[in-house]
């Protein structure tokens, strides 16, 4: 009985948390910086046995410390370790973050995505040097680690990751 009650409370909390996390960035705490990072994530079609890739995209600051994970597409926690760099530097050190940003995997395709350039706590990122990472890992397939340094300034910038065995050409835009 008590357990049921607790579950109900937990569920309510979970719903509230989820709502808070999925609310559009504009409704988050006062923040005069509305910089965004947008991209079209291209996951390549593959031959033969195909398992949708696990994908993480995140930003590290100039000290190689992760400041924001934009997305985590995954299924079983057992395979999170295979998103090697993201797991080592980010995921394993913050179980709450992993829960908060997890979404399901997607089969090959092209995905337009846009993220507010803020840290994991939704605070605006200070100007400075960062590196944007995308890591794509496929069971019985390959791994791609894409990285691009950029300086966050008041200018719009565009970068393109070259095609890899796992990803198509991916262009991303930073809009201050």
């Amino acid at each position: 009985m008590n357990t049921l009650k607790h579950h109900a409370i937990h569920f309510t909390l979970l719903v509230l948390t989820t709502l808070l996390l999925t609310m559009p960035p504009a409704s988050q705490a006062a923040n005069n910086n509305s910089a965004t990072l947008s991209m079209k994530l291209a996951l390549k079609q593959q031959q033969g046995e195909y398992h949708p890739p696990y994908v993480a995209a995140w930003i590290e600051n100039s000290k190689k410390k992760s400041v924001r994970t934009f997305l985590l597409w995954r299924e079983d926690a057992k395979w999170l370790k295979d998103i090697r760099r993201w797991w080592r530097n980010v995921g394993r050190k913050d179980a709450k973050l992993v829960d908060a940003i997890t979404s399901a995997t997607h089969a090959a395709g092209s995905f337009p995505l846009s993220f507010k350039l803020a840290d994991d706590q939704q605070n605006a990122l200070p100007t400075g040097n960062y590196t944007f990472y995308i890591e794509v890992v496929r069971e019985k397939g390959g791994r791609a680690l894409l990285k691009q340094k950029f300086e966050l300034t008041n200018k719009t910038q565009q970068f393109t990751f070259k095609e890899t065995a796992e990803t198509g050409a991916i262009t991303f835009t930073i809009t201050p």
Partner: protein, 268 residues
């Protein structure tokens, strides 16, 4: 300069005579795990000179698993095959596990009868009683060899379990954060104090399939540290040896400490 070189050569010769035994290791199926429910790991234990091809099964009777919460436990099942022993263990807690296969400190003696080199696992006193009257070059060493590895479930913890006896490896870089092309640092202590002059060798997996075994040889500095930058991701064996004259022990001539650590170097 020449004197220094000669000294260094003498030191190397003295140490290599100690390293005549096979390398030994514990090779786990996984070094890095992610799970919400726990995962099985399996470990191979072998004595071999070919990293990481198994050769002679190593007894895993002394195997100890130090859990992240500090409890000492044993594998859940094990068997001994001809060329390796295998142990299974279910990793459930978050954090870093230290798995060791250390015997207790013991005496090891050598002597010659004519031109034949002989060995005995006894102390100096017992050796004198044991050898024939024409035996020569009697030497007894008292020491401890550690065979160890680390496995990390989810978040790493600094669960290094040092006990201050003989030679010990204390990671500065966490064993689960060793990455190709990035510098990693380990410290060595002898009887709990930083030890300079420990001879360290680091070998990458797959020596059978390359002409140059690519052994990295290092000596610890005054802080007892070595720093190395693994060029490639993969599994590695680290072998460390230190020897000195026996201290306050009339049953031995020399003291010796050894460490065999297996670890993985991750992709960037």
């Amino acid at each position: 300069m020449n004197i220094q070189k000669t000294l260094l050569l003498c030191l190397t010769v003295a140490i290599s005579s100690q390293v005549s035994a096979h390398s030994r290791w514990l090779l786990p199926s996984h070094y890095t795990l992610s799970s919400e429910a726990g995962e099985w790991v399996t470990l191979d234990a072998t004595a071999s000179n070919e990293v990481f091809n198994v050769d002679k099964a190593l007894s895993i009777d002394p195997m100890t698993i130090l859990t992240p919460s500090g409890k000492k436990t044993r594998p859940s099942s094990a068997y001994k095959a001809h060329r390796k022993s295998v142990a299974d263990y279910f990793i459930k807690e978050n954090g870093t596990y230290k798995i060791t296969n250390n015997a207790t400190a013991n005496y090891f003696s050598r002597y010659k009868v004519g031109d034949t080199q002989k060995r005995a696992r006894v102390n100096k006193e017992a050796l004198k009683a044991l050898v024939p009257s024409n035996a020569s070059n009697l030497e007894t060493t008292y020491g401890l060899t550690r065979i160890e590895t680390y496995i990390t479930m989810n978040n790493p913890t600094e669960n290094y379990g040092a006990d201050g006896k003989f030679l010990e490896l204390v990671p500065n870089t966490h064993p689960s954060e060793i990455v190709e092309s990035e510098a990693a640092t380990f410290s060595f202590t002898y009887h709990g104090k930083p030890q300079a002059g420990v001879e360290v060798e680091i070998v990458r997996d797959g020596a059978r399939y390359r002409n140059d075994p690519e052994v990295v040889k290092l000596l610890t500095n005054n802080k007892g540290e070595i720093t190395f930058t693994p060029k490639k991701a993969g599994r590695y064996l680290l072998i460390a040896e230190y020897q000195q004259d026996a201290q306050n022990n009339t049953l031995a001539d020399k003291e010796h400490g050894g460490v065999f650590l297996t670890f993985e170097t991750q992709l960037q």
